[in-house]
Assembly symmetry: C2
Homo-oligomer: 323 residues x 2
């Protein structure tokens, strides 16, 4: 298997990943990150093995304890006999996983466990940020037999909303004394959170944060059968409250399956991914035309008044050759 | 001609505009601003009559005297027997021409002159800002017999660079005592300015601003035959120095025609316009597909693992029907 690290033999890599080879999984995610030309082939190879794993989004401001919580969740899922995949996405990191590696030390708990696959990803360079590469990487993990797949991301602006777009179940982590409840309301996380985790619940102000969130949830009207976000307290650093978080996750999954919401979320996620891929392909082809002679030739005609700009644009679009 | 204001009869409107009817010109620019479906027809009708007028871009920070300078330039061009068009673009204005109207009072000098057409435009709502609607509006003015066409815009960020993209000759206005020389260097206007106008040259610090700009220009290496930006002093409010500005504009036009730069700039401008139109058309068609059932149906297939996202994206693109 020494050739795995550079292999672009998609069927062989997918087979090896499904058999549990972590190097094959790593190689496939690298192909996804690089936007390799084999991606359509990879997507086709993975499709039959995907679509059922629970994708758990986990987000929150820096310092609320996301990595520690993820680590403890992984431990709990492993105890339940599940194979777990973790994608740690840092949209602000200029290096792949760079800013996260420090926090990842604790993840070494699972470094020798073949039932856990952890990967840091940067969203840098991907048009559409999270929306383009992360769903495909999550699909690689699912294809490799991981269920659940945990996608952890720093809660900064757009990433929070994007994570809800790609997750079945979205956890928003808060910590007391950071004005988080108000921040949460502002950022619109009230709409995206299925489960709120008040971490560091042994600290001053934890009760106030808990009450604030409960109060804000109570304000929203809900139709019968609609999910009412859970609020759970934890001290992840001491592994306290993690069982409650897992219970809430399981309850949410049951609700998703009972209602038609699981199908709805997955279709919405697929739609976003398809659209991002289509737009990316259009941009790439447009760029080829721009650097090629086609646009230059049309522009020369327009500049001389022999062709109008609209007719030239139509001619350019006809060159995109999308069929 | 009472029907002109609502007419969408493009050949009749173009004919009336070419005959000098200001209402027909106004109507055509409104059609451009609205992104009306007759635009391809309009572009085709104008193409034979365009491609030779000098487009003068005039930009600078708020308060440097752009409107006053434009007003005096118009007066000078009129004295030389030229028909003049002015587009005042304010990218930040939420209303068409709203923020500019106050400054426009002086323009009333030319309100009854049939040889001058002045129009305020907002770039709001146009994808690509200046780049989408302004070139088409400039073409309407040129088609109506205006030469030169002056495009005046507030020098805020992107607009400055965009104006250089659509102008044959770019004027950057500065005023003393605003730290403008350093600002100019920062904003990259050194690269876009063909002519610097140090307006309000009777104020303290005007000499320092003049020397700063001259110094910065001197730093750049130039190949033989390359244009060296002129630096001109004016007091537009007293109509002083305007002749020097006009001389610099004429010299630049001569240089443009002598060198191959005029053709290069016009082709670059046409290329940007064609590309903006093509991208706009793609976005519009993509939006139709998104709101239609096509994407939803594909997404459902992907969510169920019956189709992969790449294949779905290819199917979506095939629906764009660009040919």
């Amino acid at each position: 298997m020494t050739g795995v690290r550079r292999s672009r033999d998609v069927p062989a890599l997918v087979e090896a990943a499904r058999a549990g080879d972590p190097r094959a999984v790593a190689r496939l995610i690298t192909l996804v990150e690089d936007g390799d030309e084999v991606l359509p082939q990879l997507a086709a190879a993975l499709a039959p093995h995907t679509g059922t794993a629970q994708v758990i989004g986990l987000t929150g401001a820096p310092g609320v304890g996301k990595s520690t919580t993820t680590n403890e969740l992984v431990r709990a899922f492993r105890k339940a006999g599940k194979r777990v995949g973790v994608l740690a996405v840092d949209p602000s990191s200029p290096f792949t996983g760079g800013a996260i590696l420090g926090d990842r030390v604790r993840m070494q708990d699972h470094a020798t466990d073949p039932g856990v696959y952890i990967r840091s990803m940067s969203s840098r360079g991907h048009l559409g940020g999270l929306s383009a590469a992360t769903p495909q990487a999550a699909r690689v993990l699912e294809g490799a037999g991981c269920d659940p797949v945990v996608v952890e991301t720093v809660g900064v602006g757009q990433a929070e909303v994007e994570i809800a777009g790609l997750a079945d179940t979205t956890l928003v982590l808060l910590a007391p004394g950071m004005g988080d409840a108000i921040q949460a309301a502002k950022a619109g996380v009230l709409e995206i959170a299925d489960i709120f985790v008040v971490n560091k619940a042994d600290r001053d102000g934890a009760d106030a944060t808990y009450r604030d969130i409960q109060g804000m949830i109570g304000l929203g009207e809900r139709a019968p059968g609609e999910w009412r976000p859970r609020v759970v307290r934890s001290v992840a650093a001491r592994a306290e409250g993690i069982d409650d978080v897992v219970t809430a996750i399981d309850e949410h999954r049951e609700w998703l399956e009972r209602s038609s919401e699981l199908r709805r979320r997955r279709e919405r996620r697929a739609a976003a991914e398809v659209e991002a891929l289509a737009l990316g392909a259009l941009r790439a082809r447009m760029k080829d035309l721009r650097s090629g002679t086609e646009l230059a030739a049309l522009a020369a005609e327009v500049a001389q008044g022999r062709l109008d700009a609209h007719a030239a644009a139509a001619a350019l679009l006809a060159q995109l050759d999308l069929a």
